[in-house]
Structures are given as structure tokens and as C-alpha cells.
Amino acid sequence: MKIRLLLLFFAVSIIGFSQDYFPTNTSVKTSASHYQAITNATLHPAPNQQINVGTILFKNSTIVAVGENIRIPENTLIHDYSGKHIYASFVELHSNFGIKSGVADGRRGRSTQYDTKREGYYWNDHILSDYNGIIDYSYDKATAKQLRNAGFGVVNSHRTEGIHRGTSVFVALNDNDNDAIRLLDERAAQHLSFTKSKQSAQYYPGSIMGAMALLRQFFHDADWYKKGGASNKDLAIEAFNVNKKLPAFFEARNKLDVARAAKIGKEFGIPLTITASGKEYEHIENLKALNAALLVPVNFPNGYDVTDPVSTQKIALSDMRYWNQAPMNPAVIAKGGIPFAFTSNGLSKKTTFLANVKKAVKYGLDKEKALAALTTTPARLLGKQAIVGQLKKPAMANFIVTNGPLFDASSKIEENWVQGRQYKIITSPEVTFDGKYTLMLDGKELSLVIKNSDSKIAATVKKDSIKLSTKATYKSGWMSLQIQNEAKDAYAQLSAKISEASHIEGEGTSFDGNSIRWMAHFNEATKDKKKTKKESNQPSPVAVTYPNNGFGFSSLPTAQNTLFKNATVWTNEAEGILENADVWVENGKIKAVGQNLTAPGAIEIDATGKHLTSGVIDEHSHIGASSINEGGHNSSAEVTIEDVINPDDINLYHNLSGGVTTLQILHGSANPIGGRSAIIKPRWGEDADGLLYKGAAPFIKFALGENVKQSNWSSYARFPQTRMGVEQVFVDYFQRAKEYQTAWKKYNTLGRKTKAKTLAPRYDLEMETLVEILEGKRFISCHSYVQSEINMLMKVAERFGVTINTFTHILEGYKVADKMKEHGVGGSTFSDWWAYKFEVNDAIPYNGAIMHSQGVTVAFNSDDSEMSRRLNQEAAKAVKYGGVSEEDAWKFVTLNPAKLMHIDDQVGSVKVGKSADLVLWNNHPMSIYAVAEKTMIEGVFYYELDRATAHVEKIQQERNQLIQQMVEAKNGGAPTQKTPKKQAREFHCETLD
């Protein structure tokens, strides 16, 4: 502990809280033991309590009594606070107050750091659970003042470094005593995040899903370590196990991360308080189910500067909405029944804290709940409800004094008392001397108008009607005036001690430099010209849509029983292509396919001259995810894309517009063993979990060749660098997985008694995944290019009794199509991509046709957010290059990927009983002129061309409305921000996170 001794000298101890056993060298040691009382104030002891005229009695830092009729002991210093309101001081939970931040690892060099540099700790440098904030803590007066002025009395402070950040300190914002008094808890809470520490350059985790997996593995390891599993010393785990019961706070950076953090908390039974993103209003219902508390910021965004229409055109409607909707976030959270506390974190100026909380109240937040979020809730979330958050015995005497009810527009925090110490925030003058005076100066009569409020003063002096330039100051009861004469060549300097407002009299020098005595007589009070602002109505933000961007639905769409009449139906079944056929959709399923069907109650769609097909399925996509690659290790089987689905990605909507109804979101190709896939349906408007294809077969991405060898960028540090090494990675992992499987089998077959006495093997997320592969429960989709590596992986798999499910890309599949057929693997390829790197030099557009001709199940995929919305065109290339029949070519983007993904029993064809994932085209679906007019997933029309066109109009209207509002706000003096322009980020196989 590094509490500086010097501080003891700085702590000017007038009353001297007892440090009984400390010697004193500056004075005599006898100490006072009096009480203090705040009387005649309106007290708000707790959010739901009010005492109209009450007393708080406290001794030193602790409240002794609160109430209406408190007996005040004789030895009490009484403060009459009539007319004032008193609340418990606020509790700040998220801060790095007084703790210096970590030092960035300044290493240079081209090779990536893959391993930890710490010895005796966890294998990942971003797990800093052994760190305690107290190590670097040093009370910071300047920040303390800012926080106190914002109303806070205590702060929970941690170092914002790392994924596990160690523990925090809990400190009272009391400048007048030393740390011995104000340090309330040196290990108050544990803190976590998904963000790496800048102190270490260790690459893993390189993605959000890696951070999630790391936390999970760490929790498993900590448990196993505790049971004595490890033979090594791990101080990070030991510290974690010691601090495990402390309240846990999680800093999330955005809306999706909030849900991800909550999910991990739920999985491991850790109650979390998570930093809210400010956009919780977008999916509040789903958040509620996650059982986490929220720490809600009030850093509502400024409006944009929309003076330049060219720039304004680039601002996304969703960003404009954020400005418009953000202040309702606390109200929505409160109404959603989620426990929450406010934080000033994220505010560039803490002085705006209360104003923003008031804004939240104006936007519908219940006042009682607002007060709870400032006081009792944060106290409870930190487990400190006994000492802070309420005015009660024996809590600390931490309270704020306001000039009116806290959330009134005009109310201000005048004082903040911390540990019984008074801190004045607004020093009102002792005498108010606002008014109009007659000033006698050099025998001349001048008019003087004084306006003073708080500690500021302004004065106007006029001779007849001519205004004389005047400066006024007021300090410590003294007013001074500096007046320039009419000719502007001389000043009069006047000063006076103000004792009563009706008559001001003092000394000074006149314009000609003579010492004079001057006086001013009070005539009348100034009229307050400012009319009380009309209490504006409660603002009504624009409606939230699903998702909350321009193309969102106003309410979540529901399945419709539908009858498509008279279409050309591409069944993908033995029936082939049916002319003039009807398809009946009921409860999200295909109920009947035939002619002259009638479907009572169903909406009827005339599909005459149109083509109806099953939805397009993209076996290889990277859209709708917040990260794609975890390249921190050469295997990342522990991560899953399911953790990082981003349901707001506009590319999902683009996909719908191209008839896509199912996608496999694959991990990238950064490493030989990649992460687990997410199979999704682009259910536009649902949250992340709502997109997942329920019950789909689990998949994992493998990869071969140049990407995993890191051939095309300067990286020479990670094994493997050759195709020889790539093979060994697989052999090594499969071998270890086999051994892991055996160890667990052995353990699980032990008798109950022996089992209880035997330590279970270490639970390893990576190995668990690989065992699933060995057991045929998880399928492999492997990124591959050249024939040698394709052949290699099949041979390795066969050695371990595994069948590779799909080779994706597989651009030289045509060279080994016979071997693929024999192994039983499918090929999911590009229609015509090549020449982008050396390993695709022999890639040919006939690849699909050749593999197909040899009996391999062939799909065309996109791996590209642009191409995926026109996979129907890509399918047609199988006709062009290699002469695949139209019916078979169409299956390349529908039934065949469904087969490869083991979902062909539910999707991929128009068959009775299958999911109603259907697309209505205005033309032959593989014609270049084909446009998808309607895209249905399980009976829900997620996309309709005419509605989409109408949407563009609606977006324009709403943009105009919000731009008008921003212009008004700017003209009204509100600050603005520069325009960010939203453009969705595209992920490809090679995107490095």
C-alpha cells in the first residue's frame, strides 16, 4: 500500500476525526466530541421518503439520527437549512478515480506476440485478476471536486485495464481528511470487460468472441485450480478465487456487448452490473430476461451540425434517431423493471450530470426511480447500502443540499457534505443587493443597476441615458466598481463593504484621482424580466423500429397464412418445375402444393407469370456478426460466431432483398482450426438470439493454405508457416482430443464413490469442440484451395475416423472430385472467382460443374456481403460454365447448401411440411433480369419490394423531421457534433477480428 505519508501533513485537521492511537506533534491531543445538526430542511432520507421539516444529527462522519423531532444534544453545532432540500449524496460506481492507468506496451517489431510475458500468472496477459486498484491509488483532489460538485459523495474506482481487471477501491470524496478516514474499502468489487489491456501486446484474444471464450475458460480453470487440478502456481487464478464473492462490474462498449456480458454472467451464475450502452431502449424486453443490473450513462449525444447538406446526406437516420431517442433510455430501462444505477462515466463534463439526469426525468423517468438510481441502487449493487445511499443511522453523513426539489428545472446543488465535512458548491452572497440605486459620485447623480446571483455580479451605470462602461466585482462581502467616464479617458474606482442592501457606502477615487467617499441609495428592486419558461410538454421521441434503423419494421412482423396462386414453382423435388401451381403456407410451413387450391383465411397472392422458389441458402457468409476471426492462436475452436451475432447489420436486409433465407456465418480463415459457426435466418428485426436457426446442426470452420500460413502478410511468428505444418496442427489437435475424450470417459465411468474422490480432468473448451467432431456431433466446413491440401485433410480425417462435411471455396476441387466423392465430402465453391492469390491460379469457373458431374454435392456461396444478395445470378453461371442443367444449377444455391448444412429436411425445397422459406421472383430466378419481389421466412414476409421502395420515402421524411429538430436545437444554443457517416463494415475470410 502506497498511501503517501505526505498526505498526512496536507490533511488539515481542524476538528480531527479520531485516529486514537496516533501521536500528535502539532498541538495538544484533546479532541472535541460535539454533534452537528442540519435543521428545518426538507429531508429526503430515501427515494420514497420525505420529511418536510426535519433534522439530521451527526457526529464526526456518521449520522446519529434523522427525523422530525430529534432531540438535539447540548453540544451540537446547528446549521439552519430552512427552505433547503437534503438528499443522500450520490454513489458513483464506474470511475478510475485516483488510479493511474496502465502503461502501453511500447514494443515495436513486426512479429506478433502470441504468448504471455508474465510468469506465475494466467496464460493470458489480459486476465489481471491479481491486480488491486489500491496499488496505484492516490487521492485526486481535482477529480474529487468535479465528482462532488456533480453530487457524488463516494466513488468506486478501478483501473480500466484488461478483461479481468482485478479489484476496485471505494473512497469517500472527502478532501479534508486523509485516506485513513476516506478509504472505505480497498477491495470493493471486481471489474471485467471485453477489452484487452494496452499494457500487453499479447494478441489473444483478437476478437470479441475470443474475449468471451477466454473468460469462460478462465472461470473453468479457476474452478479446477481451486480443486487442486494444477501443478503450477497461478497468482491470477488464486486472486480471482479469493475475490470471487465481491460484486462484479462489467464494462460493455455497446448494446450487443451488454447482452453478451449478461449471457456470460448467467452461464456462470455471476450476478453482474453492466455498463449500459445508452441504446437499451432498442431491445429492452430481451435484456430483461438476462437478469443483470445496469450502470446507465447519461452522456446523451449532441445533435449534428446539419448546416452543410452535403455532409448531412451522409448521416445515417439511425444516428439521428440516437440523438432524438437517447434521453428516454433511463425511462425505458426503469419501465422495463431492470435494476439500474446512474453513472457520470462517459460525460466529457461532469457538471452536466444532473442536468442530463433531469433530462431523463423529462423524458419520462419516474423521479423516485431516478433518485434511487443515484443513491440506493448503486449503494446496493456495491453492497454498501449500510453506509451510503440513504440518510439514516448509522450511514455516513454524506448529503447534498439543494435549493429546491432535486429534479426541478431550476434546482441546484449548493452544498455536498461528505463524511460530515461541508463542501460548498455555490457560495451565495450573504446579502442580496439586486436593485436600482442612485449613485452619488463627485456630486453627480448617476443611476446604478446591480444584478447579483450566486457569487457573480453585474452592474450598469448610466449618466442620464448614457451608459458608462463599468466593471463590478464582489468578493468576501466587498463590492468594487470601476467606472469609465463619458470621455473615456478616466476611471473612478469605488469599493464598499456591503452590510445592508438599502444603503451602500464606501471609499474610492473619483475620475480626477481624488480620494472620495461615495454612496448609493436603493430605489427599487429590479423586475425579473425572465418570464418563467413555459414548462414544455414531455418530449415525444420518434418511434423505435426493429431494428432501429431506416429499414426497420415499426413492429415485429408475424407469420401470415398465405396462398400463392398460379406461379411457376421450382420445387427442387421429383416434381421438378410446376407451371400454374399454387402453394399454401400455413403456420410458417408449406401446407400444400398443387393446382386450384383454396385456403380459407389465407391472404392470396396472384403469382401469375412469376416464379416461386425456396429461399436462397448461403453456405459461406460473414455478415451479421461483430467479429469473424479469432487469430490469436492457430486453433480457436473455443470461440463461436453464435456469441457475436449482430442483428442490426444492414447486410441482412440486403440479403433478404436478394431472396436469401438461411446463412451459415462462418469463422474466418485466420487459423487451421477456426471457430464454431452460427447458422442463422435473416429475421430482420429480431435480436441476436432470434436470428439463430434453432436446432441447426453445429458446424466449425477449418482452413488451409495461404491464409493459415499467413503467407500474404508479414507474419513469421506463428506456427504453421507451411502446408506441412498445417497437417501437423490437425494431427496434433485430433490426437489430443482423442486423449481428452479418453480421460473424460475414464473419469465418467468411475463408481460414484471413487469419482467423488477423484479430480475431474481439466475442462477445455477447445477440446470439447474437437471431441464433438470426433463423435460426429459437429461438422467441418473447411476453407481450401489447392488439391494437395484438400487431399491431405481428407486423409488426416480418415485416420481419426472423421468425415469432412464440406470443403468451402474448394477451387481445385475439380482436380480431386473423385477423391471427394469417395470421402463423402461436399463442395461449396465460388462460381467464378480466381486470380486474387497464388493458390487460386488454377481456380476455374467450371469447378462447380465438374464436381457436380462426379457426384459431389455442390453449392455456390458468396463469402461476400455484396454477392450474397444475387446468388441467383451466381447459380446461373453453373449453366454458363460447364452446362449444368437449370434445375440442378438452381439447387446449387438452395437444396444443396441445405444438404451440406444438414437442414434439408426443413428447408431447401418447396415441399409439404417444410418451412415456408420462399421467394417470389418477377422472372425466371436465374435470369439476369430476375428481381426478388417477396422473401418469406417461416410464413413471415421479411422483405417486399414495394414496401422497401416505400420505405425509402419514409426514411426521407423522418430525416427531414429530425434535421429540422436539430436546426432548432442548434439555434437554441445546444452544442453539436461533427457528422459521422455510417457505413457497415464488411467482413471477409481474411478480416483480422
Binding site: 467464378d832 486474387y836 433480369y929
Partner: protein, 430 residues
């Protein structure tokens, strides 16, 4: 369903030792193509038409019955379609062979003002990518430089040549100016959001270009010393060379065009022009042709009509602008062969099919100022054309039986078709 007949059903088993296809010899015989639907390239068609080719030129065109000359070779193209060779503009084929292999990259020159840089010098006439365009009907391409504020000059090439001199049709026909970007993309690896940010140096970069052009204009041959870059710009100043303004955003386009005109550079072609639909009257008033971004791209802003990239051609055409299609973009070289399908996609979203053909034939030729030789089936023009089994804008029927460049019957085989046949042969042996 209509069964498609595959012309290429018989596999031939001979392979040339080199990967590249041998250029065809000069046209020695006269050729009559009979009975086809002729897509003239100007928006019109002739049904059941015939076309005579001699000495590398089109010598006769009309309905099958109106043909008068005698021809040594006749091609029965009944039921098939004849198109002028498609023209790829703003292309970089032949400049980079394999993206990831730096030694194969001859596109990325360093420097800001490079008017003396000429693409034709590095153009690889034997590129495997180049030969892959021909079976899809693309027989001509404009090869452009892409680096620098002033990137240098482009050349129009024909795609069946022994070397670059052989390939050039119109050398150094245009000077390419890449207008400063008014926005830049946030870099996630630097911790920025992947949003667009104001590009702070915009004004400075415009001023630098202004100063450079002013200085270049002082160029004279009257001194002993010759400033090579300045000399290279003179053709643009005196109107002999077109100026291609590469700009996407509204501000870039408006600023760029006004700026160039102020400098007396009036033969302006706009390349990209993603925001062109927002300033149609301005572009029409100034008669600016547009090489419009390919439809196979994503919308630029979150609130745009998701179909806007597909609808751009229709919007610009309706405003009376002359447009063709920019093939640049992600994976642009290998995707250049998809040019006919870009045109087809524009047709799916409102452009008349024959106008879509015109975009990548006559309009492209006009914009490149080679319409005296190319771009339409017109007597006197080069016999650069092809025969397809059906609609060449549709993948399923973009199947070529013959293609001619300057009357030479070119090979439609490629490295890729050879591999196809080789492996089908392998599997047929079982």
C-alpha cells in the same frame, strides 16, 4: 423449360504448351454471318440479319435477303445473336496478374502527380486474366492508371495481341485525375469506428492540384529543358486527350468538374459518380458522360434505397446522360468478365435491354472516342464482334460460338477451359 444447347459439348484433347492462347492471324478470307439477330449497339436490332466482314472491317449489314457481296466463308448463325464486342472501361486487366503477389503488380506507382505515367507500357497482353474476358464477349478494354492525384494516361486495347504495341488501339487517350476524397473511412485497427470521417486535407489537396496545373500550363517547348510530367499534360490542355475525373461523392464531383473547367480542361468524363443521381441537371447542363460504378456493389449510405446501385443507370439515362459501366471495384480484374452481366443487372432495374447493350458498346466507344472504329455493327467499322447462342447479357445464354477482333477469328479457349477439359478427360477415363 427451354433446353439450352451447348455448343461446346465436344471436348478437344489437344493442349498447347503455353498457358496463353495464340493470337489469331490477320483476316484473309471474307466472312458472311447469316440469319442472326443483329444487336447493332445503338439501341436497335435487325432480326434475321446478315453481316459481311472483309479485311478486318464490316463491309455489309442488313437483312439476310439484302446481302449482295460474295464471301469465301459463311457462318450460319440462325437463331443466334451478333453483338459488337463489349468494351470494358476503367479497367486494370493486364496490369496485375495475381493480387496477392506483389511482383505481379504493375499498377501501384508511387507519387502524387504522375501525368507522364502510361499504362500501355506495362500492359501484359498475355495475361491469363485478359484472355478470360473474351469468351464472355469483352473484346476491347480501356487500361487505366490508378495511383496518384494525376495518375497518368490510359490506352484502349484490343484483347487478342502478341504484345502491348500490338494491342493498342488508341494510345494515351485519356489523363486520369483522382479527385481528393472529402471523406475517409475510419480505421478499426487504429481504434476508430468504421465510419466515414471528414478528410481534413481536402482543401489542401485541391490547392496542391490547382498549383500543379497552373505550373504545368506554363510549359513551353521554347526552352532547352523539358519537364516530362508537365509535357505529358499538354495533350489534355490542348484538348487532344480526354480528362477522366474519378469522383464518387457529390462534393467531389461538383468541385472537380468546376475546377477542371476553370483550368480549361473541358473534355471531362466522370468515372464512378455514385452520387451523380443527386446532381443530374448539373451534369446534363455540362454534358458530362459518366462511367457509372458497376451495379454489383453495396449502397454507400445506410439510408439509401438498397437497390440504388442497380438503378443508377436508369436514373442517369433518363436524364439524358451518355453512360457506360465502370468495371473497377473489389476483385475488379477477375470480375471484368462479368461486364455483360453488369449491363444485364441494370436492365433488370429499368434500362431497356438494347440500351443496356448500347451502354457497353457504342456509348463506351463514344466516351473513349473510338466510335469511328468500334462500338456498333456499322459498315466501315472494325469487325470486332461476336456471336452468342442467345442474349449475351444473361449468364445462361452468354455462350459464344465465334468472336472476331478486327476480323480475326480469335480463340475462345483459355487457361481455364483447358483445365476444364483436361480434368473432364481425366474423369472420363474411368
Amino acid at each position: 423449360m427451354k433446353k439450352i444447347i451447348y455448343l461446346l459439348s465436344a471436348f478437344y484433347l489437344s493442349f498447347v504448351a503455353t498457358a496463353q492462347q495464340t493470337p489469331a492471324p490477320i483476316q484473309s478470307e471474307s466472312i458472311l454471318i447469316q440469319g442472326a439477330t443483329l444487336h447493332i449497339g445503338d439501341g436497335t436490332i435487325i432480326e434475321n440479319g446478315s453481316l459481311g466482314l472483309e479485311n478486318g472491317k464490316i463491309v455489309e449489314i442488313g437483312s439476310s435477303t439484302s446481302i449482295t457481296n460474295n464471301y469465301t466463308t459463311q457462318i450460319d448463325a440462325t437463331g443466334q445473336h451478333v453483338y459488337p464486342g463489349f468494351i470494358a472501361t476503367n479497367s486494370t486487366v493486364g496490369m496485375v496478374e495475381i493480387d496477392a503477389i506483389r511482383p505481379t503488380n504493375d499498377l501501384n506507382e508511387i507519387g502524387t502527380f504522375l501525368p507522364n505515367i502510361r499504362t500501355i507500357i506495362a500492359y501484359n497482353a498475355e495475361s491469363k486474366v485478359v484472355e478470360s474476358l473474351r469468351p464472355n464477349g469483352i473484346l476491347t478494354a480501356q487500361i487505366v492508371p490508378t495511383r496518384g492525384r494525376i495518375a497518368g494516361s490510359s490506352t484502349v486495347v484490343q484483347l487478342d495481341a502478341w504484345n502491348w504495341e500490338d494491342a493498342a488501339i488508341k494510345t494515351d487517350e485519356g489523363m486520369h485525375i483522382y479527385w481528393p476524397r472529402s471523406y475517409r473511412r475510419g480505421n478499426p485497427t487504429k481504434g476508430e469506428d468504421p465510419l466515414l470521417y471528414d478528410q481534413k486535407n481536402y482543401d489542401k489537396q485541391v490547392l496542391e492540384l490547382d498549383a500543379y496545373l497552373k505550373e504545368a500550363k506554363t510549359f513551353t517547348t521554347a526552352t532547352d529543358k523539358k519537364h516530362l510530367p508537365h509535357a505529358a499534360l499538354q495533350a489534355s490542355f490542348n484538348g487532344k486527350q480526354q480528362v477522366y475525373l474519378h469522383a464518387k461523392e457529390k462534393r467531389q464531383i461538383l468541385d472537380g468538374i468546376v475546377f477542371l473547367q476553370k483550368h480549361g480542361l473541358n473534355n471531362i468524363v466522370l468515372v464512378g459518380g455514385d452520387d451523380a443521381h443527386l446532381i443530374l441537371p448539373f451534369l446534363k447542363k455540362n454534358d458530362i458522360p459518366v462511367i457509372v460504378s458497376r451495379p454489383h456493389r453495396l449502397p454507400n449510405t445506410a439510408d439509401e434505397d438498397v437497390k440504388l446501385p442497380f438503378k443508377m443507370a436508369k436514373l442517369l439515362m433518363d436524364a439524358g446522360l451518355i453512360i457506360t459501366i465502370d468495371v473497377s471495384g473489389r476483385m475488379e480484374r477477375m470480375n471484368t468478365r462479368n461486364l455483360p452481366f453488369y449491363a444485364g443487372t441494370f436492365a433488370a432495374y429499368g434500362v431497356d435491354k438494347e440500351k443496356a447493350v448500347q451502354m457497353i458498346t457504342l456509348n463506351a466507344a463514344k466516351i473513349l472516342s473510338v466510335e469511328d472504329k468500334l462500338g456498333s455493327l456499322t459498315v466501315g467499322k472494325d469487325a470486332t464482334l461476336f456471336i452468342a447462342i442467345g442474349d449475351a447479357l444473361d449468364m445462361r445464354t452468354n455462350q459464344l460460338s465465334h468472336a472476331f477482333i478486327q476480323g480475326r477469328a480469335i480463340l475462345l479457349e483459355t487457361h481455364q477451359t483447358e483445365l476444364w477439359k483436361r480434368y473432364m478427360e481425366k474423369f472420363s477415363r474411368k
